[in-house]
């Protein structure tokens, strides 16, 4: 089952790559600005042989991982706290709604002012963007708690902590997992974007250099690296999710692996 899935996924990717080869070759767009897959693959191989590339990859992953851990922890804590404390949800709703849409991109000058082009700048933007993803999902998840189950737990005299642990958490978990998966993707996007715009060391900064140098195939090769990272991150998140939700409806239908 697992192997069949991987095979299907690979065939999907292969079709996508073939499309990337065909579009410029057929003259739909100019080859110079949208190189065919084979030329990108060449540049990709050159990148892999470059030591500086691996350093950049490490920088990006460090920013991503740290930012994600901070955002998920803070998001879950804040989400549960806001949901279970009476009136806190209503009191914070307007502030949350106001802060959420402020684009991380608008915070770039702010990040530079505070931390220059260090890792902390990237972290600020990554955490700001992914925190809301987790928080909103947690709050939706807590809302989804079955009132009957909650009342039952109450009448059995379970304390707040026990209720969170046995009633609220299992219900919210699928939502939280989706939130974490989204946050993982958003964190990567923001890490690369921040590097790209601010110039903090990492894949994004390499993309920026390739862009300004008119090195189009190299630029696309780096973009492919970012895409592959996203793919790996998703596979990882899915695996974790499957483990954590083995008992849940949406997973039950799948053959256990």
């Amino acid at each position: 089952m697992r192997g069949a899935n991987a095979l299907l996924g690979a065939s999907g990717l292969a079709a996508f790559l073939a499309l990337g080869e065909a579009v410029p070759r057929l003259g739909v767009v100019d080859e110079d600005y949208f190189p065919p897959t084979s030329r990108i693959a060449d540049a990709f191989a050159t990148e892999l042989a470059d030591e500086a590339f691996w350093t950049a990859l490490g920088d990006t992953l460090t920013g991503w991982a740290l930012g994600l851990v901070i955002a998920v922890t803070a998001g879950i804590l804040a989400g549960v706290l806001i949901s279970v404390t009476p009136y806190l949800r209503e009191a914070t709703a307007s502030t949350i709604e106001f802060l959420r849409p402020i684009p991380s991109v608008a915070l770039i000058p702010l990040a530079v002012l505070l931390y220059g082009t260090e890792l902390r700048s990237v972290l600020l933007l990554v955490v700001y963007a992914s925190f809301w993803q987790v928080l909103v999902q947690v709050m939706y998840g807590v809302q989804d708690v079955d009132p009957v189950a909650e009342e039952t737990a109450r009448s059995y005299g379970l304390g707040t902590w026990a209720r969170i642990r046995h009633v609220l958490w299992p219900t919210a978990l699928p939502y939280v997992m989706t939130g974490v998966r989204l946050a993982a993707a958003v964190a990567l996007i923001l890490a690369v974007t921040a590097e790209l715009v601010i110039g903090a060391p990492g894949l994004g900064a390499r993309i920026a250099v390739a862009q300004t140098s008119q090195a189009v195939p190299e630029m696309y090769a780096l973009v492919v690296v970012t895409g592959l990272l996203g793919l790996l991150i998703n596979v990882g998140a899915r695996t974790v999710e499957r483990r954590a939700l083995a008992w849940h409806q949406s997973v039950r239908g799948e053959v256990a692996v």
Binding site: A65, P109, L113, V209, A215
Partner: protein, 323 residues
């Protein structure tokens, strides 16, 4: 077992990530870290041809012999560099002259310390041109009236200069439609007919030329043959606190500029270390000039034009800006 595996993999990824990440200096705010008599200073630059003298000077030891260790950081543009310098994240930065004039007119405390880059002064052979694609009907600057012209930043040095070229060619600059996009996107936009002309610098200019595109005006030369296009600058606070360091930086930079100006082959070589310009383009690049000192008259001209185009409410005080 599986769970253990996942845990191990996650741990390994994290460890690997931290291991292969570049070990940044732990952000200590100690500006004058004297290690064996050398001071590390942070300079915010843009990864383009213009800043080659910095890298060359670092390599040649013009900075180290004065006890300066350069830490060069590439940022995307002035949007990140100016705030970085003002907030003491960078000690020095590289910015185009018009941006510095605008900043000064808004009382942002920036102070130019050294020349950055200058026009070659040669018509149709400058490092920045008003370019059109192969077979374009546009032949000279006044033909862009009513047409779309790509500039990297609106209300900045590009449109001010294009306006001046159009004016000198007997056209009406108010009829030009400017579209903002990064330099590196301009070749594609020209080829695709999304814009009719572009204010473009190297290496994007070389790409356009390699596809048969031509220049219809040398906009920087039209402003002034000795135009100071960009400068290195610092914040007023830093200049007041570290006059000795600023002086050393100026001397070392002047020496680097002169060296770069007279050794074009070494410049082309050093460019490959901090950009990814393909070899095919590297040969074609028109290098700018790097005079040791900024040209005040040309900066005054740029300020006049900027005021004419309404970039500033009041004329910036050049005495406060220039070294």
């Amino acid at each position: 077992m599986r769970r253990l595996l996942i845990g191990l993999t996650a741990g390994a990824v994290l460890a690997a990530a931290t291991a292969c990440g570049s070990s940044d200096s732990s952000g200590s705010d100690d500006k004058d870290k004297a290690s064996g008599g050398t001071t590390t200073i942070k300079v915010g630059v843009i990864p383009i041809v213009d800043v080659a003298p910095m890298y060359l000077g670092e390599k040649k030891g013009f900075y180290s012999k004065r006890g300066i260790k350069l830490s060069l950081t590439s940022a995307q543009g002035g949007a990140a560099i100016v705030p970085g310098v003002v907030a003491d994240q960078f000690d020095f930065g590289f910015s185009n002259t018009t941006s510095l004039l605008i900043a000064r007119s808004k009382n942002v405390p920036v102070k130019a310390v050294a020349n950055g880059v200058a026009s070659t002064g040669k018509q149709k052979a400058d490092f920045a041109e008003l370019a059109v694609k192969k077979g374009s009907p546009l032949k000279s600057a006044k033909d862009v009236e009513g047409k779309k012209v790509a500039v990297n930043t609106l209300n900045n040095i590009c449109d001010t200069s294009v306006n001046e070229s159009v004016r000198k060619d007997g056209g009406d600059p108010s009829e030009v439609k400017f579209v903002e996009m990064p330099f590196d996107q301009m070749p594609a936009a020209l080829a695709g007919g999304q814009v009719d002309a572009a204010c473009v610098v190297e290496p994007a200019l070389a790409t356009i030329k390699s596809q048969g595109g031509t220049s219809i005006a040398s906009l920087f030369v039209d402003v002034s043959p000795d135009l100071t296009v960009a400068m290195y600058f610092t914040s007023e606070r830093y200049a007041q606190k570290n006059p000795g360091m600023v002086k050393k930086f100026q001397e070392a930079t002047a020496e680097s500029l002169e060296y770069a100006d007279s050794h074009p082959e070494e410049v082309r070589e050093i460019i490959t270390t901090y950009t990814k310009i393909p070899d095919t383009l590297l040969e074609q690049l028109t290098l700018p000039r790097w005079p040791a000192e900024p040209d005040r008259a040309s900066i005054e001209r740029l300020a006049e034009l900027g005021q004419q185009d309404g970039l500033f409410d009041k004329a910036p005080d050049l005495d406060k800006l220039l070294p």
